[in-house]
Amino acid sequence: MNLFNLVWLELGQRKSQLLSGMLAIVLGISVIVAIRSVSIVSETAVAINLDNLGANILVLPQGASIDNYYSADIDSPTIPEEYVTRIVNSTIPGVDNLMPRLSRRVEIYGTNLVLSGILPKNELASKPLWQSSGLFGAELEAACGDNPINESHGYEDEKLQRKAIDSLKLTDCLLGASAARRLKVNEGDVLTINDFELQVAKVLSETGTVDDDRVFVHLHKAQQVLGIPDQVSAIEIMGCCNAISDGLLGKLRNILPDTRITTIGQIVSTQVKTNQLMSRISIVMLIIIIIIGGISIGNYMWANVNERKKEIGIMRMIGFPRTAIYRTLIYKAIILGISGGVLGFVAGITIAWFIGPLIAGVNINPIPELLGWAVFISVLISIVGSLFPAHLASKFEPFSNMQDT
C-alpha cells in the first residue's frame, strides 16, 4: 500500500460525492473542447477553401446570409438561372468562368446531406482539387482542355481523368468523401433522392472542405429533384483581379440589380471574424470555467476534508507528517483533474460532433492536441481548487481523533 493506493481506496468510498465534485469540471472542459474543436476545424476549412478556391465573386439572392461563404448557397432564396445567360451575354470583361449552383439540405436514407446542382464543366474548371483528384467515368469527352487552369497534373491521360465531371449524366451523381462514408455507398451504387434514382459515378477524394458532405448532380437534375425549375441559389464567378479593381462588381450589379454581389475577401473576412469571436468566447468561457471549476473542486475537497477529519486525525496520530496529508489531497486533485479532463474531452468532442455540422457546416473529428490541453487545464483547476482545503487539512491536530468516541 502507498499513498496513491490510499487515495484510490478513499475515492472508491465516496463515488456520488466524487461525481458531483467532478461534474462542473467535466461540463466546463467539454464546453471549451467543443468550442475549440469547432473553431479549429472551421479555421482549417477556411484556410483549405481559400487555398483551393477558384471563384472570387459570389452572386447571391438579396437576403442571403454571407456569414459562411462555403454554405451561403444552402437553403438561401433563389435567383433565376437566366441570370447566368444575362452575365454571359453582357460582354462584361473580366469574367473568366461562371458556376451556377442550386443547393438544398436533403435527407438520404436518414442521413442529412447537401444536394448541390452544378454545371460540371464549369465546376471542374474552378476546382483545382477536383482536377487533381483522378476523376474518370464512362465517356471520353473533355471540354476544358484549352483552359490554362487545367494545365497538366501528370495523369497518363489528362482528358480521361476529367471526363466524368465534364460530362456528368443526368442520371449520375458525385459523392463527397464524407457523404459516401456516411451513406456507406460505393461507386456504381444507386441512390434514391426524393424518388429519383441516381447512380454514384464517382466518390470524390477528401478535400477537407464542405464539399466532402455534398452530393453533386447536374444543375438541371437538381432543379428537377428539388422541384425548383430554372432557379439557382448562387452563381460563383471567377473574375480577373484587374477587372475587379476596374469596377467589375459595379457592372455586375447594374445587370443584376436584385442580387447581392460580394467578393470572397469580404465573405472570408466575415467568417474569420466569426471564428475570432468563437475564439474570444472560448477564452471567456475558459476563465469562467477556471473560476467555477476551482470553486466547485475546492468546495468538494473542503467537504471531503471535513468529513474525513477523524481519518486525518488517525493518519497524523500514526505518524503522517503534514506534508504527507497535503500530498494525499494533491494526489486526489490530480486524479480528479486527469479524469475530469479526459471525460470533458470525450464529452466535448461528442458535442462538437453533433453541433459542428449544424453551426459551422463542418464535420468534427477528435483533435488529439486538445486532449492534452483539456487534461492540463483540468488538473490545474483541481490543484488550485484543492490548495486551500489541503493546507487546512494538514493543520488538523492529531489529537482531534483521540477523544472522539
Binding site: 502507498n2 472508491g12 486525525g313 505518524g319 503534514r322 506534508t323 492529531p398 489529537f399 481523533n401
Partner: protein
Amino acid sequence: MRTIISTDKLSKIYQHRDGIVNALQDISLSINQGDFVTITGPSGSGKSTLLMALCGLIKPSGGTICFFDKDLTRASDQELSRFRQDHVGFIMQNFSLIPYMTALQNTMFPLILNGYEKQDQINRAISALKVVGLNNRLNHFPRELSAGQQQRVAIARAMVNKPSLIFADEPTGNLDPALAFDILNILKSINQVEAITIIIVTHSMDAAEYGNVKIRLNDGTVVNIESVL
C-alpha cells in the same frame, strides 16, 4: 533497565475563556524499557493530556520530555511524526480504524510511509494479526467485526511497525468486562513477549492492576507512583 521516556517539570496550560486551565503541573517521571505502565485518576485529572504529551501529539507549555536522549519538546512536527511512525503504536478507546479498509489494510496502514515493499507490508500485517488471533479475518471490514475484534485489529496496527512504545487511551472503555480482560491479556503478552513498553490510561482499577508501574494523577499532578518489581 534503561529509561525509555522521561519528563521533567512537565506542564500544560490551556487558555480557556473562563480562565487558565493547568492540565499538567510539574510532572517528573521516568519509565523504563519493558514497563507496563497504568495511569489512573478521576476525569479531568490530566491522564489523556499526559499521554498526548508523551507521544508528541501536543506541545507542552513547560518542562521537557525525553525519548531516550532525544528532547521531544524541541522536535519539529516532521521529527515528531517520524518519532511516532518509527517508535510508537496507538490504541484508542474508539478503535480508530478506517471504515473502508479491511483488517489487513488497517493493520498495514502505518507501514505506508516506511518504504516497505507491498509483500513485506502484507507479511508484517499478517504476523501482527496472528498475534491477536485475527489471521482468519484479514478481509473483514470494521463493520463486519465485533467491538473486541476491532480493538484487536487496533492492537495489531499498533504493533505492526515493531514500536518501542505502545500508548493506549482507555483501550477497554468500550468493551464488556470479558472482552476487556482479553484485550488486557493480549497487551500484557505483547509487553512480555515482544518487550514493548506499554503505557495505558484507564479508569478501571482492574486494568490498573496489570501495570508494574502505576501512576495516579489528580488535578494535573502526580499523587502516587507505585512500582511493582
